[in-house]
């Protein structure tokens, strides 16, 4: 499995990769490396490198058609991080409320 959270965080740490990922999320269909390259004014090689990192994190899927590769976004891995954060956000809110009640009652 490639959906290691360290890889996800690394993948989205770079602003340019976030932009590319965002473009793929809002795209109605898969985008080719050529299209992404044109849209962001970076070389095919540069795009390929970014896409590889996103793919490793499980955030992008790549399919080949002929000589061109098409990319689609998959936001599912991000859910793991938000779930963790949401769980503990709530957990600590409850805990601090309990601490406050305890201190008030002492």
């Amino acid at each position: 499995m490639q959906d290691n959270i360290t890889k996800i965080l690394k993948a989205i740490a770079d602003p340019k990769r976030r932009e590319i990922f965002h473009a793929l999320v809002i795209a109605s269909s898969a985008l080719s490396i050529t299209q992404i390259s044109g849209q962001f004014d970076i070389s095919r090689q540069g795009v390929t490198k970014h896409i590889k990192t996103l793919e490793t994190a499980g955030l992008v899927g790549i399919t080949s058609k002929g000589r061109e590769r098409f990319c689609t976004a998959d936001a599912k891995p991000l859910k793991q991080i938000t779930e963790w954060v949401r769980f503990y956000e709530q957990f600590w809110d409850t805990t601090l409320k309990d601490l406050g009640d305890y201190l008030d009652s002492k």
Binding site: I12, Q80, F91, T94, L99, G100, Y102, S105
Partner: protein, 142 residues
Amino acid sequence: MKDVITKEHVFAHPIQKVWNAISVGEEISTWFIKADFKAEEGYNYTFTSSEEHGCLNITGKVKSASPYTLIYTWVVENTTTETVVKWDLQETEAGTRLYLEHSGISNYSGDSAVTYFNNYNGGWNECIEKLTEFLTKEVHAG
């Protein structure tokens, strides 16, 4: 995307009182979770949840415990992932300001995170809620 949870809270109580509540085992056991805990660097602590609610123990090591900063690792039973909880107290005019920080989500591998949530999301909350209910009653009765 952040991998740190931070909470800030002001308590209208003296700093030593808040410090004792978060660092003395008997006090932690009263308001939070049954604790074998000592605020000593290197101490291996255990937070014990009641099994009837399907809750999990938390274990870890105290990294730092100098008034008024308490740092310990946080490992949920049946997982190997280590996260870190930091309590930092500051004296204010109104009482005590608490900064709580829970970091280390990046230490979770995706698989174990998913397993973790599938198994315990809800369960643990329920456990804490029941504990809270119980404690509220106990405290008010006393």
